[in-house]
């Protein structure tokens, strides 16, 4: 068990500004988002950089909410999927947003395929993909526009990084890392 001084040292060494580990409700996302804005204002970041970090934070956390709200998840899966972890840190000149949540085993493949496809695209191709997705018709009952990952890829200064690691029975931990 890490002591508080050890935890504090670790967080400081890793440049971690904000960390939330727990259930992601809309109001928690909003409240933490306000804290994120205040922190970044204090850093005297350019407004553009601040907006980029904020929007990646919102897209990442709302993706977790939207996944957990999918009608095809059973109650047990829903509880697991709604737990997340989000970390915002500073690494040199860049801010990094990392977000993790549990996904069902069967959803892992589609997710990694989407991410691999995005990782291979340059700025122009990402813009084209974004515009194409912006115009496509959404299935009835869609909770989100399906643009979050592309948007994060556009705001990032490097290809999106991700990991899918085994978690409890039937689930993988999906971790996303966005460098801005």
């Amino acid at each position: 068990m890490l002591t508080l001084p050890e935890l504090r040292q670790r967080l400081t060494e890793d440049g971690i500004l904000i960390c939330l580990n727990g259930p992601f409700s809309h109001s928690i996302i909003e409240e933490l988002g306000n804290a994120v804005k205040k922190y970044l204002e204090n850093e005297e970041l350019q407004k553009t950089a601040m907006m980029d970090v904020f929007s990646v934070y919102i897209e990442a956390t709302q993706n977790v909410r939207n996944y957990a709200s999918r009608p095809d998840l059973d109650d047990a899966a829903r509880v697991q999927a709604g737990q997340g972890i989000v970390v915002i840190s500073r690494e040199g000149d860049h801010h990094v947003v990392r977000c993790g949540n549990l996904v069902r085993l069967e959803d892992g493949k589609a997710l990694s395929e989407r991410l691999e496809a995005l990782r291979g695209l340059d700025k122009a191709a990402l813009k084209a993909l974004y515009k194409e997705h912006l115009r496509r018709e959404l299935p009835p009952g869609a909770r989100g526009a399906g643009l979050g990952l592309v948007e994060m890829a556009r705001k990032a200064s490097a290809p999106l990084e991700y990991r899918l690691t085994p978690a409890q029975e039937g689930f993988l931990l999906f971790s996303l890392r966005v460098t801005i």
């Binding site: 988002g33 407004k47 553009t48 897209e59 115009r135 959404l138 909770r143 526009a145 643009l147 948007e151």
Partner: protein, 128 residues
Amino acid sequence: MDNLHIVPTGSSPLVDFDAETGLLRLSGESYPENALEFFRPILAWISAFLERDTRPLTLELRLTYMNTSSIKSLMDILDDLEDAHQGGREVRLHWYCDEDNGRALEMAEEFREDLTLPFQIIPEKAAP
């Protein structure tokens, strides 16, 4: 037609649509829990206004931040306005941006790329 008025929250915009003057205002933050659902009545109101009426429509936007689902909903609204414009209806879009926020300006310009309706981008000092 009734006016449409929705009070803003920390994550959803002020909606102030006046059926008499044809002035439609949207301002504030937009990242509600379910943006598609939030914008549905807004889209419906605009459709109805365009259908039942012939008077000009002016859409004034002062949106400080939009999540991607809000952007998608806005795109649907602007597509309707573009169709109306191409059909000869008088529609205007005034997009106000925080002059210090390059991203907001970029987004407005990106939207304008694909539209022919009268579309003004107006940089403004942000409210303190």
